[in-house]
């Protein structure tokens, strides 16, 4: 046994040594030449702070609100399972809003309940039905994913319970005629064209390769982005959730000499994809949507992430110092993707409660007529439940951090 191990180790050592010595001797061709377009590192300066709307509505309100102690808001969405992180980002944001509200409004202690769907449409009907049955729950933040939202939207509708999704971006969600569904961010139809404009405009890319995953989000966004890219789009590929090896896709991209790659999906695949792309000598830019904009992307893509840009119909909450520090104090973590959406959505509902809308139908009417600034954006919905004129922001990676570079796509 022992002898074998030694032999194995020796063999591996010999091989490694041989090869490493070999390549060290060579004047390593740094630019492998196969990536066309040149290293078009567009230098867009990072924003260090953004203008927070002066009269943004904050959860604390005026501190004079009164409401029954049974008043409850709920979060319904993933708390466990593979999609848990997204859910945690969101309900931590909600929790922060509710804590701030309750702290300053001694006479209105709003309760907070969480229901776990694991992000699974098959599981979602149970918790949603349960939540709609509880009369004290008058407003809901959720559900984060498009699939589960599709499966349960009609239940909210039947029970006339208002819910604001902080993350579901499938455009068709608002085509169901549901009067209780409100989307707290721009949908894929907003982000896609903006991303396309950003890539071909500010980033100056001429040959864009689009890779999408198999998620509802990735497919929807891939479609609207490729429509926006027009002639600049030189090729597409599709990958699956859970895929780890992207070498075939990468060789197609390298042979196509793309100078920008747009990845329409989540960081779990996007990060190793970018990492492998750069390891194969790709020198162009890598652009992803809000599904990629997470610290996990940088952790998993390593150094390769330096070439990455992100688009997001969300405001950089981490740049709003009050929000960032409060969030950190509460959750011992930086705000993540959709944290501020959760916070703002909860704020809309809390403001309604403070204004005396303390049953389901009144709160629904309140949200319908809402027209105020939130911390991240202006909230006013059209009759389908879409935000009017949401802003898409651009981000980039600088020194291992995601930093905003301002609004894009206008």
């Amino acid at each position: 046994m022992y002898r074998k191990k030694v032999m194995t180790t020796l063999a591996a050592a010999a091989t490694l040594g041989m090869l490493m010595a070999g390549c060290a001797n060579q004047a390593a061709p740094e630019s492998s030449g196969s990536a066309g377009g040149g290293s078009s590192k567009v230098n867009i300066p990072a924003l260090t702070s953004i203008e927070t709307p002066k009269d943004a509505v904050l959860p604390a309100g005026d501190g004079k609100a009164t409401c029954p102690s049974t008043t409850t808001l709920a979060y319904i969405g993933a708390e466990t399972g593979a999609n848990a992180q997204l859910g945690i980002n969101i309900f931590n944001g909600i929790q922060l809003a509710i804590n701030q509200h309750n702290k300053s409004n001694a006479n209105c202690q709003v309760q907070f309940k969480k229901f776990d769907t694991e992000g699974d449409p098959n599981k979602a009907t149970g918790p949603v039905t349960q939540a709609t049955k509880e009369a004290n729950i008058i407003g809901v933040v959720g559900l984060p994913f498009s699939g589960e939202s599709k499966a349960t939207g009609n239940i909210f509708e039947q029970q006339k319970l208002v819910h604001i999704t902080p993350a579901a971006t499938n455009p068709t969600l608002t085509d169901n005629g549901w009067t209780t569904f409100f989307r707290g961010l721009g949908n894929d139809a907003v982000q896609g064209p903006a991303a396309a404009k950003f890539i071909t405009g500010k980033l100056g890319a001429k040959k864009v390769y689009l890779v999408q995953d198999d998620s509802d989000y990735g497919i929807g966004l891939g479609k609207t982005t490729s429509d926006g890219l027009g002639a600049a789009l030189i090729g597409t590929d599709k990958v699956t959730t859970g895929q780890k090896d992207f070498s075939a896709t990468i060789s197609k991209i390298m042979n196509a000499k793309a100078d920008a790659v747009f990845y329409s999906g989540y960081y779990a695949e996007g990060a190793p994809f970018d990492q492998q792309l750069v390891a194969k000598g790709y020198t162009g830019t890598f652009i992803g949507p809000d599904g990629l904009k997470d610290d996990q992307f940088i952790k998993q893509a390593g150094d390769a992430s330096a070439n990455a840009f992100f688009t997001c119909p969300c405001i950089p909450g981490e740049l709003i110092p009050t929000f960032e520090s409060a969030y950190k104090a509460l959750n011992n973590a930086e705000p993540g993707t959709y944290s501020i959406e959760g916070y703002d959505a909860a704020t809309v509902l809390l403001a309604g409660i403070d204004a005396g809308n303390q049953d389901r139908s009144k709160l629904l009417t309140w949200v319908k007529g809402y027209d105020k600034d939130g911390l991240s954006k202006h909230y006013k919905w059209n009759d389908k439940g879409e935000l009017q004129a949401p802003t898409v922001y651009g981000y980039k990676v600088e020194n291992g951090k995601i930093v905003p570079i301002g609004a894009i796509g206008e």
């Binding site: 046994m1 074998k4 032999m7 194995t8 180790t9 063999a11 591996a12 050592a13 091989t15 490694l16 040594g17 090869l19 490493m20 010595a21 070999g22 390549c23 060290a24 060579q26 390593a28 061709p29 492998s32 196969s34 399972g81 593979a82 992180q85 198999d214 597409t236 590929d237 599709k238 990958v239 699956t240 859970g242 895929q243 780890k244 090896d245 992207f246 070498s247 075939a248 896709t249 060789s251 197609k252 390298m254 042979n255 779990a268 990060a271 190793p272 990492q275 492998q276 390891a279 194969k280 000598g281 996990q296 940088i298 952790k299 998993q300 893509a301 390593g302 150094d303 992430s305 291992g400």
Partner: protein, 339 residues
């Protein structure tokens, strides 16, 4: 009802008729890079497949938990490298110190994998063997063990992959057929092949290897002839673990962010498919099957236009091969083959 449905099918799919397309120019253009990449990943499959094949040869058991033996090796690599201070950027080290560091990671990975394999055998399979449980019981236990390990890791390390650690910056070293070959690819393929050759020699020449073959061929006779069956079984598991540990190092080298609780599961299934493809129980078959599976997947996805096809193609080829050659390409039997 059914005829009505069938007549409707073309109409239904008319608007999206082109879900299968054959992009031959793309395959021609990317053929060599797909080949080199396929061989690289195929070598990793092959190393893992060897673990399946050896255990199957000796125990007639599909050790579903071998994927977890592998992933524990990956964690071994990860923890060693992060302990040694590797980070997201390639370290600026001399070639010599990189080699030392990698060897250290290799040793830890091999230990982690071999220990996992050892414990798995002792805790899960041995009790079953003692009471001569039927095959189905072994299989279900193996699946249960695989889940147990995966979700223990999940609870300890969370759902996200570990941060990527770069061992060295991969560089192209020469060009063949207009395609660059990277040092990383060469290291993985050559090292994997060397390890497999050593394994083959070990099994065909050494005393322990003869014991393994004897047990594979006929456990009872082997026992009568003085072979310590229990010792052979545990040795087989440990050898499988060692190879999986080595595979883990190469895997993390290639996919730094692949260290995740369920990162081994699908890879394990594919490695097992590779073993079956080549002929389970056959050491050379594992190598052949692994390389073939790597190539087929890559060619398939390029030909069919997107990488979602990879697993479909690999699976269909596996079924076709099994239909034509139920024993796999090189035939089964660890005991009878030369290796």
């Amino acid at each position: 009802m059914i005829p009505t449905l069938l007549t409707l099918l073309p109409a239904a799919s008319a608007d999206d008729s082109s879900w299968i397309t054959f992009d031959i120019p793309s395959l021609m253009q990317n053929f060599w890079s797909a080949t080199f990449d396929g061989l690289t990943f195929g070598s990793i499959y092959a190393l893992v497949a060897l673990g399946y094949t050896l255990v199957y040869g000796v125990l007639n058991l599909i050790n579903f938990a071998h994927s977890e033996v592998f992933i524990m090796g990956c964690y071994g690599v990860f923890f060693t490298l992060s302990f040694l201070g590797f980070g997201p950027s390639a370290p600026n080290l001399s070639v010599g110190s990189i080699i030392v560091n990698l060897l250290l990671a290799l040793v830890v990975a091999i230990c982690a994998s071999a220990l996992t394999a050892f414990l798995l055998e002792r805790l899960a399979y041995k009790p079953l063997r003692k009471r001569n449980a039927p095959r189905l019981v072994f299989l279900i236990t193996a699946i249960g063990a695989s889940f147990t390990i995966q979700y223990t890791i999940f609870l300890v390390r969370g759902p996200n992959p570990e941060p990527a650690l770069t061992m060295f910056k991969s560089r192209p070293i020469f060009e063949v057929f207009g395609t660059f070959i990277y040092d990383q690819q060469l290291i993985i393929v050559i090292a994997a092949v060397i390890m497999m050759v050593i394994t083959e020699r070990f099994i065909s020449k050494s005393r322990t290897g003869r014991g393994i073959r004897a047990v594979a061929q006929d456990p009872d006779t082997a026992t009568l002839m003085g072979v310590n069956k229990e010792k052979i079984i545990i040795t087989t598991f440990v050898i499988g673990g060692i190879l999986a540990g080595a595979a883990a190092l190469f895997y993390v080298m290639k996919i730094p962010s692949g260290v995740q609780y369920n990162g081994g599961f699908i890879l394990g299934i594919k490695a097992f498919a590779a073993a079956v493809l080549g002929g389970i129980g056959n050491v050379r078959g594992a190598l052949l099957g692994g390389l073939l599976l790597g190539l087929i997947g890559n060619y398939g996805q390029i030909l069919l236009g997107n990488s979602q096809w990879t697993d479909v193609v690999a699976f269909v080829v596996l079924v076709l091969v099994l239909l034509l050659r139920p024993e796999g390409i090189l035939g089964t039997s660890l005991g009878r083959s030369k290796a």
